[in-house]
């Protein structure tokens, strides 16, 4: 992606004039202006600076483009510590800045696992040094992600962990999950589940079906998702815990969440762009870049994800950024690591929901900003007085083609290479500072 990221720009008052303001939290979609002062938004509105902006303020003329809260990406793997050859907090932050992401929440499945306070402190310190996109962190729900003993949920919450999860593994043991849900409830924190019955999914390389049969690959039956979700929902009902399903991808799973919400359960879920933009045909003739976890699904499931997003069953869209290097992907399909480098494709691919008429622009932006912030209880994703000055300026109609080689991320493993998209990030502002500007 062309452009520059900058860690040390100045932070005086800046006026963003001539903008199409998009604030999904209030439904604002109007021509207007916004002014930041230091790390916060000082004022915003359609009527702001109708005359002319005050002197002594830096002016950014938005030229009628969209100014929205920066994206809040609630599912990112930054690979640091442990796998710095795939991504680091620095390289991931640059990629996020280039993608219009102003806050991201990373998973604890690093090496060592983030299951204690010192792990959280390490991430926070590295993020402060890098000083681009804001980095938040989930802590492991169980020690070493082994699914057996709870981590220090209370202490970790106090130190800033925004939620608890075993990352890319499901927390399978119902006894442990029950306790995690009840215990976390005391601290008002959310538990995030990778929705997959691990026994049914064992050894599977893709969704089970006609394609897996033809390719001769072991399949994961699609019901592995809904079986995990349904079982968990009974425990949520039992404990009153706060439960969130990550990267939901099947019609049956979405339907379960839809019914649970109707029943009044405190559950939320997110999905990721591959699940509404691609189906398993993307695997073609053993393309490992299309190997994801959960695996790409059939077309009916893809359509159900779009429906779930449109009707609000699916609260948020996360990038599910999972950078992998060549060595992890240039191997036979069954041996390849799953995942896609996704921070920079999050906005343009999500905007296809708007371009294709499935959702309004405001609704798409909601799934990317205030909605994920609300899931984890962060006061982000809003254009409001005294809110953090985290902004993205973008052109939702600018045509482009996703180019894997042009990605800022250390890893270029995107299943969207060559996909024509519309939507371009022009500028990213974090805490009042411009951290990215398109060339």
């Amino acid at each position: 992606m062309p452009g520059t990221t900058k860690a040390n720009a100045t932070t005086g008052p800046v006026a963003y004039i001539n903008a199409r303001l998009l604030d999904p939290a209030t439904g604002l979609d109007a021509h207007g202006a916004l002014v930041t002062d230091g790390e916060l938004i000082a004022d915003v509105g359609a009527k702001l600076f109708t005359e002319s902006p005050p002197a002594g303020v830096d002016i950014v003329d938005c030229q009628g483009k969209c100014l929205a809260p920066g994206l809040v990406d609630m599912r990112v793997q930054l690979r640091e510590p442990g796998e710095e050859h795939k991504e680091t907090i620095a390289s991931g932050s640059r990629a996020a800045s280039a993608g219009g992401v102003t806050a991201m929440i990373c998973l604890p499945n690093t090496d060592p696992v983030i299951d204690d306070v010192s792990g959280l402190e390490f991430i926070a310190r590295r993020a402060r040094e890098v000083k681009l996109t804001k980095v938040f962190c989930y802590a492991a729900a169980t020690k070493s992600l082994k699914g057996k003993e709870l981590t220090e949920v209370g202490l970790l919450s106090g130190m800033g962990a925004v939620g608890f999860t075993d990352g890319t593994r499901p927390l399978s043991d119902p006894v442990v999950l029950r306790r995690a849900l009840s215990y976390a409830r005391t601290f008002g924190t959310v538990f995030i589940q990778h929705p997959e019955d691990s026994t049914l999914a064992r050894d599977g390389a893709m969704t089970e079906g006609e394609t897996s049969m033809r390719l001769g690959l072991s399949g994961i039956p699609a019901v592995a998702e809904v079986i995990q979700i349904d079982r968990d929902l009974h425990l949520v009902e039992l404990t009153g815990g706060r439960y969130h399903v990550a990267h939901i991808s099947t019609a049956a799973g979405i339907d379960s969440i839809r019914r649970a919400k109707v029943r009044g359960l405190n559950v939320t879920c997110d999905t990721a762009p591959p699940y509404f933009a691609l189906n398993e045909n993307a695997i073609g003739d053993f393309r490992t870049f299309a190997k994801l976890s959960p695996p790409l699904r059939v077309e009916e499931d893809r359509l159900a994800v779009i429906e779930g997003l449109a009707d609000g069953t699916i609260d948020a869209i996360a990038s599910d950024h999972a950078p992998q290097d060549q060595d992890a992907k240039r191997v036979p399909f069954a041996q390849a690591e799953p995942g896609a480098s996704a921070l920079e494709t999050l906005l343009p691919v999500s905007l296809s929901l708007y371009q294709n008429g499935h959702m309004s622009l405001l609704d798409v932006m909601k799934r990317l900003t205030c909605a994920p912030a609300d899931v984890v209880g962060l006061p982000l994703g809003r254009l409001a007085k005294a809110a953090p000055a985290d902004l993205v300026l973008f052109d939702p109609d600018a045509p482009g083609v996703i180019d894997a080689d042009a990605l800022v991320s250390k890893s270029k493993n995107t299943p969207f290479d060559g996909l024509p998209v519309q939507g371009k990030v022009l500028r990213t502002v974090v805490a009042g500072r411009t951290v990215f500007e398109a060339a």
Binding site: G209, R214, G216, L217, D285, F286
Partner: protein
């Protein structure tokens, strides 16, 4: 060179032979016809030709195999090529060198043809992307085993005179079988009707989407069949998880004269080998020279592999001439 003239009506358009899927009926016919010419040659005292003189063939097997590797080795040698065999146990691969490193290393030795078997589906294609010569898939995971399907087809055609319109039952562990997949594609492309017969745990759920008829009862499945193709049941699938026991499997799905009676009187019995006698096939049936063509399949294997080497290297000669 005393090479027969290249066929003018049909061209084999592929650099590699990675699978049956994607081959046209004309291309399959070309391979089968060419195989027939080598059957006769292989029955003469002097079996050797110099067609591939100076060519290098490397057989690289990441999974153990005796008959397929020997068959390819003989095929290469009878055509006058230099043949090298490499066995790479999967544990050695895990220790270090990746599949692509192996491919690049072998490629530096300028082999004209690489014959590759690998336990992972898609691995042979991955390797083919990294080499300059031709690659023949000698079996990749559960995906394809094209030369097995071709040798089965030659065997059937020599006995029945044609493939079109025949009714073929493929019986047993279709789920884990690359032989079954390649055979289904080939037989259907050539106009035969295919049935699969086995317990539901050993058939892929969407198998009917391949255009086959599905049976869970041997006698019903074999009824009226011209060909009964048995599949090997891997030892690790026998106990517990896919079928309850060998005894129960043999009772319901082992090929006996009793079950065979449902098929046509002149139905042929085939098996890709190695056989588990008393598991998927009764010894008496397997050894019935009137009906079992299992030995003939092995004989055809060499001829088919000669034909594949012949046709792929002939393509190479054309490109080099250009």
């Amino acid at each position: 060179m005393n090479a027969p003239p290249a066929s003018t009506d049909t061209v084999f358009r592929h650099r590699h032979l990675l699978g049956i899927q994607g081959l046209s009926p004309a291309e399959i016919t070309l391979l089968l016809d060419r195989s027939e010419t080598y059957v006769d040659q292989n029955r003469q005292a002097n079996k050797k030709k110099s067609l591939l003189k100076g060519r290098t063939i490397i057989n690289i097997f990441f999974e153990s195999s005796t008959r397929t590797r020997t068959s390819f080795e003989l095929a290469g040698k009878r055509l006058g090529a230099d043949v090298i065999n490499m066995s790479v146990s999967s544990s050695a691969i895990k220790k270090g060198e990746t599949l692509l490193d192996t491919a690049i290393t072998l490629n530096a030795m300028h082999p004209d043809v690489l014959v590759v078997r690998h336990p992972e589906s898609g691995a042979v294609k991955l390797l083919a992307e990294k080499v300059n010569g031709s690659v023949i898939n000698a079996g990749d995971g559960r995906h394809e085993h094209p030369t097995q399907a071709l040798l089965d087809a030659v065997t059937i055609r020599r006995r029945k005179g044609h493939l079109q319109g025949l009714l073929v039952a493929i019986c047993g562990d279709v789920l884990h079988s690359r032989v079954a997949r390649s055979n289904i594609y080939l037989l259907q492309t050539m106009g035969a009707r295919v049935r699969v017969v086995g317990p539901p745990t050993l058939l892929p759920d969407p198998v009917a989407r391949l255009g086959v008829e599905v049976f869970h009862d041997m006698e019903q499945g074999l009824k009226g069949c011209d060909i009964v193709m048995m599949l090997r049941l891997q030892t690790e699938r026998m106990q517990g998880s896919f079928v309850p026991s060998i005894r129960e499997y043999f009772h319901f799905f082992g090929l006996t004269y009793e079950k065979l009676a449902a098929a046509k009187d002149d139905a042929l019995i085939m098996h890709p080998g190695p056989m588990n006698r008393g598991v998927e096939i009764d010894s008496e049936v397997a050894d019935d020279f009137g009906r079992s063509v299992i030995q003939e399949q092995v004989e055809m294997g060499v001829a088919v592999r000669m034909a594949c080497l012949d046709i792929l290297t002939r393509n190479m000669a054309t490109t080099e001439a250009e």
